[in-house]
Symmetry: C2
Subunit: 211 residues, 2 copies
Amino acid sequence: MAQEGRSYGGRTPEERDAERRRRLLETAKEIIGTKGYAATTIPGVCAASKVSTRHFYEIYPGKEDLFVDLYDRITADSYARVATSLEATAGKPIFERVPAAVLAYLDPMLKDPRVARIAFVEIMGASPRIEKLRLDYRETLVEIVGTECSASVGRGEILDRDWRFAALALVGAVTAIVYDWALHQPRSSREALEAQLADLALVLLTSDPPG
Amino acid sequence: MAQEGRSYGGRTPEERDAERRRRLLETAKEIIGTKGYAATTIPGVCAASKVSTRHFYEIYPGKEDLFVDLYDRITADSYARVATSLEATAGKPIFERVPAAVLAYLDPMLKDPRVARIAFVEIMGASPRIEKLRLDYRETLVEIVGTECSASVGRGEILDRDWRFAALALVGAVTAIVYDWALHQPRSSREALEAQLADLALVLLTSDPPG
DNA sequence: GTCATCTGAAAATGAGCATTGTCAAATTCT
DNA sequence: AGAATTTGACAATGCTCATTTTCAGATGAC
């Protein structure tokens, strides 16, 4: 019947909850990004993040929900970067906008191999709900590519083509390459990789289609 | 102490074993390719394939081994097709060999969406052992691409480039596209998709690299 | 100071399998 | 026919978690 609690340790209930959630997400990133989702257990995450299982279930309905929250935040971050990039390059030619947007999206994965593993590998086929989430998010990406590129076609910059096909190719290729780069040691410099990725994006989205 | 058994039902022990293995593999393909590896249980596979769990453990040490066997066979099949295709097009220009080999590899996945799901999604991050298997197999593919394309460079057909990067891009792109095609209904004709995939392979492996 | 609330740790519960063992019926060999 | 082997169904075991509950101590409100 407790309406909503009082302060404790100098923090409001909301602050305490947010702090626990932050620790859970940080630990989940570490464990899922290192051992994989299948090898991740709730007691394990709770122990490593110093949050009791009781508090865990006050925050999340279950294990899957923690993963969904984590993936949502990773994706939202990347999408926000893409939006910012596209705004920043508004009015510029597609040959500048596309590479900038792709690299903006990938920045979190290039900075942290755990994020790359979560977003590109662990997310796949983890569960029906998570798989649907992944495909829905990807569809948004496909639409963004289609919208931007179609507009560019209208401006006479590039030739029209099957944008869904091209977008899927780009997403698949970039996924495989970045995950491989994040895993391998030694590896080329981030700058070199980014130059290759920018070229790849241009080839797939802007160079004249065959046929 | 039984050395090795006698015939039963008109079949040798080896034949009976092979028959059970065949049923297990067929059922595993159906269940893993439909519900996913995470949702697959040994009792479930055994019931659906009419093999008792006792016999299952006479054939496989455990659950993971069935999946490994299935994936091994799927991969071996595709690799054999690639080898056959490359032999059949020996001496021909790279612009013919590459598309033919790529489509030869993909034939089993284009014929059966369950195979596409297993080879392209369920295999990812399923377990450390299976993930290593996937990456090892992919490395073989990367080497084949590198070998064939470098030879083509030597013949003056195409320009040299980072073949590992190009091969990973091709594998990643093709994976995403074929899985998407296998899942979506309605979908374009297989012929149309194959034409697009062939173009994609040519763009990534043979068209002049930027820079 | 006293009582209600909040906390972290740990124990308790329960479900879902993977894996092993049992056994009666079917088949083969001699 | 009779002994030995093989089979398939099913019961039994045990383990790994997810999820719930307990509880003694810490903290805040008044």
